[in-house]
Symmetry: C2
Subunit: 234 residues, 2 copies
DNA sequence: CGAACTTTCTACACGCCGTTCAATTCGTAC
DNA sequence: GTACGAATTGAACGGCGTGTAGAAAGTTCG
C-alpha cells in the first residue's frame, strides 16, 4: 500500500467520521461539504476528490450505518440460543429500538428523508444491507413457521434477488412466509419510527413498555413463547 | 370584511396552495420562500407579512394536512356501521394508507423530517390534529375492548391532556386500552412508512396485500371479526 | 536526478436558500 | 386630503452544493 493510498484511506475515513459527528449533532441536514471541510481545515471542493457528489457521501454513510445496525441485531440474536426462537425475535427487536435511540439521526438517515434532494440509488451497498436485514428477519420467521399458509403469494411477488436468496437459504419456506416477514418488519418498525420522530414521546412517558408489549404480542402471534421476563418499566 | 382583509386571506391561501404544489412536485425540501414568491410574482421578503418564518408556514401546512388526513379517516370510519367494529378499523387503516399513497410528500411532512432545520413546536394545531387522530384510534380500540387488561399502565403514563380527553369520552376505559391504542397506531404506521420511504416497494410488488393481511391480523388480534372481502390483489 | 503525469487542493464563480432592513407604494380611515 | 399602517420591493448578509482553472505535491519512468 503506497503512501498515497494510505493517506487517501485516512482522509476518506476522516470525512465520513466528521460527517457522522455533524449528523449526530445537527441531524442529517447538517451533513454539508463545507462544514466537513471547515472541520478538516480544507476547502469544500477538495472533498470531490473522495466523493463524486454529496449524495455519494450520504449513500456511503447510509450503507455503513445500516451495516452496523444489522451487525448489532445479528449478534444480539446469536447471543440467544436457537432453542428459544421467541427470545431471538425479542433480542432482534430490542436491538433495533435501542440502536435507533442511540443513533436517532442515523435512523432518520436510513429510514427517512436523508438530506434535501437526495435520491437513493437503485443498487449499492445500502440495498445490500437492507437485503441482509430482510434475510435475518426471514430466519427469525422461518424458525417459527409451521403451517403451509393460505398460499396467497407467489415468489414472483417479491424482489427476484431476495427471493432467490431466501429460497437458497430456506428451501422449504413458502412465499407466504416472506410476506409474513415483511409484516413483522413493519410491526417492528412502526413504533420505533413514531418514537424517533417524536410522535410517541409526547403521548406516553414509557415508549419502551409499549414497544415491549407489542413485541411480546408479535412473538405470541408467531406461535412462539415469549421469554418470561420480570415486569419492568422505563 | 374589508377589502384588505379579503386580499390578505386570499394571499395567505395562495401561499399555502403553492407551497403544497411545490411540495407535491419536489418533496418537502422544495418548499422554499423564494420559489413560492417566484410562482406568485412577488419577492421572498413579502411572504414575511404572512408568516413570521418559513417554519411557521411549514407548521401551518402540517396542521392542514394532518387535519385533512384525520377528516378522511373519520368519515371513512363513519361510513361503516358501528355494528361492524372490525370493518371500521379496516376502513380507518385503508384510508390512512391510501391518503399516504396519494400524498406521499404530505406523509413525509407529517411523519418524517419535514424540512432542513425544522423543529416542531410543542403546541400548535399540528399537535391538536395528532390528538384528534389518537382519539379516533382510541374509539376504535374502545369498541373492541372487553377485558380489564393486566393493569400494567396508569393514567400518569400518558400525556395529561390526552388522558383527560379520553377519560371524558370513554369513562370506563382503563389506561391499558390507551397503551393498546398506541400499539395499534404503530402497527398501522409501520408498513405505510416503509412503503412511502421506498423500503417496501423494492422488496415486494404487492404492498397492498401485505398491508391488508396485517390489518386483518390486527383486527383479529383485537378480538373483532374482520370483514369478509374477496381475495383481491393489487 | 529530473521530466512527465496524476492526484489533491485552493480560489473563485454561479445560482440557490432564509432572513433582515430601509425605502417605497398603496389601501384605509379620519 | 392628509396621515397612518400594512404590503411590498430591492439590496444585502451568510450559508449551501457544485463546477472550473490552476497551483502544489506525490508518483512513475527515462
Amino acid at each position: 500500500m503506497t503512501r498515497r493510498e494510505r493517506l487517501r484511506a485516512e482522509t476518506t475515513a476522516e470525512i465520513k467520521e466528521i460527517a457522522l459527528k455533524l449528523m449526530a449533532a445537527g441531524g442529517p441536514d447538517a451533513i454539508s461539504l463545507r462544514a466537513i471541510a471547515r472541520d478538516m481545515g480544507m476547502t469544500a471542493g477538495a472533498i470531490y476528490s473522495y466523493f463524486a457528489t454529496r449524495d455519494d457521501l450520504v449513500t456511503t454513510l447510509i450503507a455503513d450505518l445500516y451495516t452496523a445496525l444489522v451487525d448489532e441485531a445479528e449478534s444480539a440474536r446469536d447471543a440467544v440460543p436457537a432453542a428459544d426462537p421467541g427470545g431471538r425475535v425479542l433480542a432482534w427487536a430490542q436491538t433495533v429500538r435501542e440502536w435507533a435511540l442511540a443513533n436517532p439521526q442515523g435512523f432518520r438517515l436510513i429510514y427517512g428523508d436523508p438530506v434535501p434532494g437526495y435520491q437513493p440509488p437503485e443498487d449499492g451497498p445500502a440495498n445490500e444491507a437492507e437485503h441482509r436485514a430482510c434475510r435475518g428477519l426471514t430466519g427469525l420467521v422461518a424458525a417459527a413457521w409451521t403451517g403451509p399458509g393460505p398460499g396467497s403469494y407467489t415468489w414472483s411477488d417479491f424482489d427476484p434477488g431476495l427471493a432467490a436468496d431466501i429460497r437458497a437459504t430456506f428451501p422449504d419456506l413458502p412465499p407466504d412466509a416472506v410476506a409474513l416477514t415483511l409484516r413483522v418488519w413493519g410491526r417492528m418498525h412502526g413504533l420505533v419510527a413514531l418514537e424517533i420522530y417524536g410522535h410517541l414521546r409526547t403521548l406516553t412517558r414509557d415508549p419502551a413498555a409499549i414497544y415491549r408489549d407489542e413485541m411480546i404480542a408479535l412473538i405470541t402471534s408467531l406461535g412462539l413463547t415469549p421469554p418470561a421476563t420480570p415486569h419492568q418499566r422505563g
